[in-house]
């Protein structure tokens, strides 16, 4: 049955691609059965993307958890990974079928556009279809091979050796991507493929035993998934940032690779990968929550509580870097077309971004809330309870700043009250970039601080530095060194920055040096806190570095950004990067300290002792994430305004206008509803086919 779906899906997609390439097109737009083409394509594409994101995220998720189980030797992680993989097969088939439907709608409604795309991307479309076979193979291998490979029996030694060989050679070769031996590409293309191929090669080192082989299969499943996503991404990103065309005739003149490696390809890919990870985590969390709510025994409740916790953890890990991935993508959009960028942040979509801020803010807020409620199941967490309200306040104030628009809606009376001006004399400042940057950073720090409190709840025994081995010290020093390099190097680059390179007059160099000096001070603080840590003042060290980061990122660079905006606005993006780098360094160093600071007392969390509202929090997170993805899809597509391919192929149909935010919410809600309900159906279907595994007993530490 499942294989039938899968076969049909792949067959449909491939055949339709050929049909689309071959069909003679005599019209630009068509109406079919009275459907609104724009909305139909929107609907199908978004649904396909939701399922695609789910299908791509689940394997990442499963492999990470399986790997954790493999390393820690705890069986329950392995079972969890298996449970998630079980959801995959039906979802995979439906995704493929939807992909086919999408292509069909595109050919049907937008024939000449589809032909245009096929002319350029025809070969990659074929390649795309071929990748599916690899994906299908590894999916089968990963899922059906699970039970058979679920032991540590060693593999034949020639496989081991061969694996090591391929791993070593491949890793070295993949470094070639980083250094540009396989061609120089702009932006993050080289690092991206370096990581991709490094992962591909390094996976061969796992070929030690049967479980390792299975993990290897899982990684390759993900690699194929990523490759599929990247191929499809290139089409979408090309529509936003076409390359290689003649600037007079506006005709595509390049090769397939020119079109694929367009400026937004990799930024979009990175953003999507983190987005997918967060999405997968939150969907899995919602799944666990529903199971929790419907559970009929404490054992089940404990299991699903734990599952929800793990899923949420993964989701938050994906969520934390998302603002930065988004910032990177946005920056590339700006660099590629300032016009598109400005339309995004200051034009038609400024309000959509306010909504996005509400949703993302909600994600952070509810993630925090889940952690806070989660403290209830940890003995010893009471002592941190008092901090919750301050964290809450910090997140809320940041959120308030984040969603305050520059150009706020006013009634006529309010406009009159301000003498006819459309800007509030004071609140307008909250709507500008520096304020938003400070707010986002504060949200992340607060979420992180909440997380620290959470994991510290049952780790209450301090370890003196003397009792750590050499490795621990080396790791701490390495982390400190990494942070110093990260911060210091960027500080140095700012210090040396020539104002002319930003089209600024020479006297603005002072702005650069001030920021650079701040980063240098940050390096000093890193040294100081590391020294304190080695003097057994670990908590103080953490406190000092966290405090300094908050001061520097939020309270210094935040207001300073306004000055920069007035005097040297091109430098504003460097300010944002400085903030990001300091924040990153803070997360790295403080987390490293945290690992070595306390010993886990192993006071067991009382899994399952969670109030119902915490489970609704997980569900809320899933819903918010779904809405957010739909909204981002709308922005991505809407940014092209009335162009199919931005600046190249104009959308002359009557649906070329940018719909209102209301239309967007209605559409996104409808698609999300269909998707979430469909998801329930998929869970149910996959549940049908499974033999019921025994509900795992809590905390059986079973060595594999």
């Amino acid at each position: 049955m499942k294989s039938f779906y899968r076969f049909m899906g792949v067959f449909l997609s491939v055949s339709l691609i050929f049909v689309s390439a071959a069909s003679a097109m005599d019209t630009d737009y068509r109406m079919l059965w009275g459907f609104n083409p724009r909305k139909t394509v929107w609907f199908v594409a978004q649904l396909h993307l939701y399922l695609g994101a789910f299908v791509l995220a689940m394997p990442i998720f499963a492999v990470i958890i399986e790997y954790v189980g493999y390393k820690t030797g705890r069986k329950k992680y392995d079972l969890l990974a298996y449970e998630f993989t079980g959801l995959l097969s039906v979802a995979y088939a439906v995704t493929a079928a939807l992909g086919g439907l999408l292509i069909f709608t595109l050919i049907g409604f937008y024939p000449s556009f589809t032909r245009y795309m096929t002319d350029i991307f025809g070969e990659s479309m074929l390649f795309y279809a071929l990748l599916f076979f690899g994906e299908t193979f590894f999916l089968y291998f990963y899922y059906y091979g699970w039970r058979r490979l679920d032991n540590l029996a060693p593999l034949p030694s020639f496989i081991k050796l061969g694996g090591r060989f391929i791993g070593a050679v491949g890793s070295v070769l993949s470094a070639g991507f980083l250094f540009g031996f396989f061609g120089k590409y702009p932006g993050a293309v080289q690092p991206f493929w370096f990581v991709f191929f490094l992962l591909a090669s390094a996976s061969f080192f796992l070929l030690k035993n049967r479980k390792g082989l299975h993990l290897w299969g899982g990684i390759w499943l993900n690699l194929f998934g990523t490759a599929i996503m990247m191929v499809a991404n290139s089409w979408v990103s090309y529509m936003m940032s076409p390359t290689a065309y003649d600037t007079n005739s506006y005709e595509f003149t390049g090769t397939l690779m020119d079109a694929v490696i367009n400026p937004l390809w990799v930024p979009l890919g990175i953003h999507r990968m983190f987005g997918n990870l967060a999405f997968g985590g939150f969907v899995a969390g919602a799944y666990a929550a529903v199971r929790f709510l419907g559970a009929d025994s404490d054992a089940q409740r404990a299991h699903y509580d734990w599952m929800g916790y793990v899923a949420n953890f993964v989701g938050v890990c994906g969520l934390l870097p998302l603002p930065f991935a988004g910032y990177y993508l946005g920056r590339e959009v700006y660099s590629n077309s300032a016009l598109m960028g400005n339309n995004m942040m200051g034009g038609d979509f400024s309000w959509t971004f306010i909504m996005q801020a509400m949703l993302v803010g909600g994600l952070f807020l509810f993630s925090c809330y889940y952690l806070w409620t989660g403290m209830g199941r940890i003995p010893g967490a009471e002592k941190y309870r008092g901090y919750v309200k301050y964290l809450n306040a910090a997140v809320l104030v940041s959120l308030a700043v984040w969603i305050t628009p520059h150009n706020m809606p006013l009634t006529a009376a309010e406009v009159a009250g301000m003498g006819g001006s459309q800007y509030h004399p004071l609140l307008k400042y909250l709507g500008l970039m520096p304020a938003k940057n400070a707010a986002v950073n504060l949200i992340i720090i607060s979420t992180y601080a909440g997380f620290l409190l959470y994991i510290r709840s049952n780790r209450n025994k301090k370890i003196p530095i003397a009792s750590h081995g050499k490795t621990a010290r080396a790791v701490i020093l390495a982390a400190a060194l990494f942070c110093i390099l990260l911060v210091g190097r960027y500080g140095l680059s700012l210090f040396m920055l020539d104002p002319a390179s930003l089209d600024l007059p020479p006297d603005r160099v002072q702005v650069f040096t001030t920021t650079a000096k701040l980063l240098f001070i940050n390096c000093g603080v890193i040294l100081l806190s590391t020294a304190l840590f080695f003097a057994d003042r670990g908590k103080t060290a953490q406190f000092i570095y966290l405090g300094f980061t908050i001061f520097s990122v939020v309270f210094f660079l935040g207001p300073y950004g306004f000055m920069v905006m007035e005097k040297a606005s091109p430098f504003l993006r460097n300010i944002a990067v400085s903030q990001f780098i300091q924040l990153l360094s803070c997360l790295v160093l403080v987390s490293t300290f945290e690992i070595f600071l306390f010993r886990s007392e192993h006071e067991k969390p009382r899994w399952g002792k969670m109030p119902e509202r915490s489970q609704y929090t997980l569900i809320t997170l899933c819903i918010l994430m779904t809405f957010n993805m739909g909204l981002m899809g709308f922005i991505r597509s809407g940014l092209r305004t009335d162009w199919h391919i931005y600046g190249l192929l104009r959308d002359t149909s009557e649906w070329a206008f940018t719909p209102s935010n209301y239309t967007m919410t209605v559409m996104v809600s409808a698609i999300s509803l269909v998707f979430l309900l469909g998801l329930v159906l998929i869970f149910w279907l996959s549940d049908l086919g499974e033999k019921k595994a025994e509900a795992p007993k809590d905390d059986i530490e079973e060595r594999l």
Binding site: N342, S421, L502, D503, T620
Partner: protein, 345 residues
């Protein structure tokens, strides 16, 4: 599992579903509120004519200038220079600033620059002399994706000039000197873009003279003048083509010849009439009064029929212009006619 312990799970699912509906409703409510607050559905404002008012509309609408430039306190763009008075840096409005900037340009290039020249340069070649403290990142507004037409560019310049300068409108309408050079550049760019869009560029190789004779010779295969007029001469069944080359894109012209029904010019709705004596007359509706219907037939005649003589009549979706030019004309003849039409500016 769901089926096994149905009741618990079903209850949980129902609750979660209701919760989902509530969340969705909230989301839609926010979208609705925001849309209402921000003035409903978006509309593209288009300015009419070449004047400062139209320029202002383009500035804040189609031209998307306001996403980067503010004017004093109006607008929220900050990436590019404010064009009004703002802060310590912008103490003069753009029109006035142009005078100073033009003087600086004169000193740099050794040519005599006027404020007008500077404004044209800003638009035609934004990177030539960037305001210090700002990046050279202004797009070429007369190329895609903004794609302003030369007249729209003039309107925008007129709007800019209206803020603090005394440049007479005629100077902008008919630019001279350096401004003329830049304007020519804009026109050339727009023209080359129009003429070479996609596969259509094939068609410019026609012979306009031959096309003209095909157009006017009623006996020829084309015989356009039967129905269409140019400067008063020709038939009046179809729309006048006097300025078709200057006002319509090449793509539109080709489409109108090969697929006449794709878009029918306003005021030329095709009608078909069945008279009481069983005669069918088709043509374009010229006039429709209470007792008369006047139509121009595809043969090029104007016929007035009494309503009392009509059994039935209706407006068609299909143009009365013959749709078979693609078949009866040779490619060369088609190119010739198009080449002629393009001369009608």
């Amino acid at each position: 599992m769901i089926s096994r312990k149905g009741s618990d799970m079903a209850k949980a699912l129902t609750k979660v579903f209701l919760f989902l509906l509530v969340m969705t409703a909230m989301f839609v409510y926010v979208g609705h509120t925001i849309t209402v607050m921000t003035g409903g559905d978006r509309e593209q404002t288009v300015g009419e004519g070449i004047n400062a008012g139209a320029g202002e509309k383009i500035f804040f609408g189609k031209g998307k200038c306001s996403t980067c430039h503010s004017i004093g306190e109006k607008g929220s763009g900050i990436r590019c220079p404010n064009l009004g008075i703002k802060g310590d840096i912008f103490t003069k409005p753009i029109g006035e600033r142009a005078v100073d900037r033009a003087a600086e340009r004169s000193a740099q290039t050794g040519r005599e620059w006027r404020a007008l020249d500077y404004l044209f340069e800003c638009v035609a070649e934004p990177g030539a002399y960037v305001v210090s403290g700002f990046r050279n990142e202004m797009p070429t507004i007369y190329k895609p994706p903004i794609d302003l037409k030369p007249d729209e560019v003039k309107a925008v310049i007129m709007f800019l000039a209206s803020m603090g300068s005394e440049i007479p409108a005629e100077d902008i309408l008919k630019p001279t000197g350096i401004a003329r050079e830049y304007f020519t550049k804009i026109e050339a760019s727009v023209k080359s873009q129009n003429d070479t869009t996609g596969q259509l560029k094939l068609y410019i190789q026609g012979d306009a003279e031959n096309g003209e004779s095909l157009f006017w010779d009623i006996e020829s295969k084309a015989g356009c003048a039967k129905c269409h007029s140019v400067n008063g001469a020709g038939g009046s069944v179809g729309p006048s083509l006097a300025h078709v080359g200057g006002t319509r894109t090449l793509g539109y012209i080709i489409e109108s010849i090969l697929k006449p029904s794709a878009e029918i010019a306003g005021g030329y709705e095709p009608v078909i009439v069945l008279t009481k004596d069983r005669k069918r007359i088709s043509g374009t509706k010229k006039d429709d009064t209470e007792d008369h219907l006047t139509i121009g037939t595809s043969a090029g005649e104007i016929v007035t029929i009494k309503k009392s003589d009509i059994r039935k009549w209706k407006v068609l979706k299909k143009s009365i212009m013959p749709g078979n030019f693609g078949e009866i004309l040779t490619v060369q003849e088609l190119h010739d006619i198009i080449a002629y039409l393009l001369t009608l500016t």
